[in-house]
């Protein structure tokens, strides 16, 4: 599979009164064509910021993309001026985003038609009538009943799930090559989540798009993503195929995350093990591993040496850890 998007050493910093926050601290990853990739991590680990940085949507000030490269279709997107025409040509047309909060991601004073048409008129050069036709088609596609009349409604006349369907329609409207969904189902109830994830998966398959699923919900990525990046404190700590990450985790943080999710196929009497401690304060971070204070497997080397880089533990599976955990250390039986 060809690489669609390649991010190298992306760094995004925020100036705050307390000091410089390295929200994204040198992450590198890639997305293949027609691939669903999960980016997992707890709140504040930089997963959303890293995705916003790709399209240069970080509010500046206080945010600043301090370094790195984002290669897409042979160009480094970070070289483009943030609001210049080249960047705008990518946004919404080649790479589109779906946001977390369907309740606030739609403009309350514009009808659904106006909002769906906006990007299509801009990027596809459609006139109003054609854009409206396509808007209706898209709404039908994402399963909104009576699309012909609903298209002129305002966002508040839609429920949360319906709005997120509209957002998905908007994300698809210009046939993008990559859709970044930033916690697309977090604000919805569980049944709606399942329906919408299924919908997104169908749409991605149908339009041959790649999808980045940013989430803190391991269940979401387990089912739909082919590969997973686990982020902690602004860095990627482990990456691999979904199977590898779930069956053979190699970073203590990933192990901790998996231990605090109940499993239907395991021993139901087993207690869930929380990760002790709190996520680190990103201001004035020490150079060594950010997970160190919470890590049950730490060794002396972790304290002495700076944060280890991602190293391959097997094919297509990397972890940033000095402790080379093995399945037997974690009590995992070879399957």
């Amino acid at each position: 599979m060809a690489v669609l998007l390649e991010v190298k050493n992306l760094e995004t910093h925020f100036k705050t009164e307390a000091g410089l926050v390295k929200a994204v601290d040198g992450i590198s990853y890639h997305i293949h064509e027609h691939e669903i990739v999960g980016v997992v991590g707890e709140s504040g680990c930089g997963k959303s910021v890293s995705q916003l940085s790709i399209l240069q949507l970080i509010p500046s000030p206080p945010g600043k993309i301090a370094g790195g490269e984002v290669w897409f279709e042979g160009n480094d997107l970070l070289r483009y001026p943030a609001n210049g025409s080249k960047m705008r040509d990518i946004r919404g047309s080649k790479i589109s985003m779906i946001f977390q909060e369907p309740m606030t991601s739609l403009n309350p004073v514009m009808s659904i038609n106006q909002q769906l048409s906006e990007a299509m008129q801009l990027h596809l050069g459609l006139n109003k009538a054609d854009a409206r036709k396509r808007a209706i088609e898209l709404l039908k596609l994402v399963g909104i009943p009576a699309a012909e009349s609903r298209v002129d409604d305002y966002p508040h006349q839609f429920s949360g799930g319906m709005r997120q369907r509209v957002m998905i329609a908007m994300g698809l409207s210009c046939n993008p090559r990559l859709i970044i969904a930033d916690e697309p189902t977090t604000a919805l109830d569980v049944t709606t989540q399942a329906v919408l994830l299924k919908l997104m998966k169908d749409m991605v398959d149908r339009f041959n798009t790649s999808l980045v699923l940013v989430t803190h919900n391991l269940g979401v990525v387990a089912r739909y993503a082919q590969r997973i990046y686990v982020m902690y404190a602004g860095r990627i700590v482990e990456s691999g195929t979904t199977e590898d990450i779930f069956a053979h985790p190699r970073h203590p943080y990933t192990v901790g995350l998996l231990k605090c999710v109940p499993r239907l196929d395991g021993d139901r009497n087993k207690k869930l093990v929380p990760i002790t401690g709190l996520p680190p304060n990103l201001v004035g971070m020490p150079p060594n591993c950010a997970f160190l204070p919470r890590c049950p497997y730490r060794i002396e080397q972790c304290r002495k040496e700076p944060w280890p880089p991602l190293t391959a533990v097997r094919k297509d599976h990397e972890a940033a850890c000095f402790v080379h955990l093995e399945d037997k250390d974690l009590g995992i039986n070879a399957e």
Binding site: L57, N83, Y154
Partner: protein, 299 residues
């Protein structure tokens, strides 16, 4: 795809009954009696201003020195002033400068102020600092004093009063607009439209501006009242509409000299000012309720 989304479908069917925007606007706007009263008063004002020559029983500047300071009678419903001019006719003609100044001065101020506020709120940093600090400087001078100074510098007359008030009324718009923009631009839908490739100009005009409107429209209608009152003050002070043209402010001022002999000379134009200002305030309130986007489509 569409199958199996039981919950979403259920919610959809429970959505409030849909009401077209215009119908709802009219229902809410016209629903309150006091707002209707305001509309009627403003309607009468506009009607009077347009058809003044047909409505007024006498020409407004026709003097009659044999019939000065006459009390109300069937010939002169509101009596005559110290030069024997018919008070009713002068009030009818006086609606013209009031309305014109109210509408135009507020339009000028709102346009300039909102542009400033939009730029300051959207771009922030230096642009915001320069614009908002100069607005603060203008605001530190009481509005009426500023208008008096400008009008005195330029000389009286309709055009100069318009300029004076147009400038003096700018700061509240810039401030309100700026604070509105700061709130609105935090919204996810602004990031979403940026992520969709919209230009800064489009984000400002299509996404931010309409979401800032409701409080600004309220401010505008209320400011029309203020502008009319300020014009009256300027005319009262003798630097507004030039005599002998009729203006309510100058009528109050002239009548004031004969307050004890013919109180109606001051009271009648005073009541006219009060009614009109009150009417604009009430309509402003009604508009605020009717334009609230969060209530749109329901009720």
């Amino acid at each position: 795809m569409a199958a199996g989304n039981g919950i979403a479908m259920e919610r959809f069917e429970e959505a409030p009954q849909r009401v077209s925007g215009v119908r709802r606007f009219i229902r809410v706007f016209m629903g309150r009696k006091i707002v209707m009263f305001g509309i009627v008063v403003i309607g009468l004002l506009v009607f009077t201003a347009i058809f003044a020559p047909w409505l007024a029983p006498y020409p407004p500047n026709e003097t009659s020195l044999r019939n000065t300071l006459a009390g109300p009678s069937s010939a002169h419903l509101l009596g005559t002033d110290s030069l024997g001019r018919d008070t009713l006719s002068r009030i009818i003609y006086g609606s013209r400068p009031g309305l014109v100044i109210g509408l135009i001065a507020v339009s000028i101020a709102a346009f300039i102020g909102m542009t400033f506020g939009l730029l300051a709120g959207f771009y922030g940093r230096m642009i915001s600092a320069v614009i908002m600090r100069s607005m603060d400087a203008v605001m530190s001078v009481p509005m009426i004093l500023l208008a008096v100074t400008i009008a005195a510098l330029l000389g009286g007359g309709l055009k100069n009063v318009l300029m004076a008030l147009g400038i003096a009324l700018i700061p509240p718009y810039a401030r309100l607009m700026c604070s509105q923009v700061l709130t609105v631009k935090q919204n996810d839908y602004i990031t979403a439209s940026r992520a969709g490739g919209a230009t800064n100009l489009r984000i400002m005009l299509a996404h931010i501006l309409p979401n800032c409107f409701p409080p600004l429209i309220v401010l505008m209608t209320m400011q029309i009242g203020t502008a009319i009152l300020s014009e009256a003050s300027l005319s009262f002070l003798g630097i507004g509409i030039k005599p002998p043209d009729a203006a309510w402010g100058s009528m109050v001022s002239e009548g004031y000299q004969n307050m004890l002999r013919a109180p109606v000379l001051s009271i009648a134009p005073g009541v006219a000012i009060m009614l009109v200002v009150f009417a604009f305030n009430m309509v402003g309130d009604g508009l605020r309720d009717a334009l609230d986007p969060k209530l749109r489509g329901t009720l």
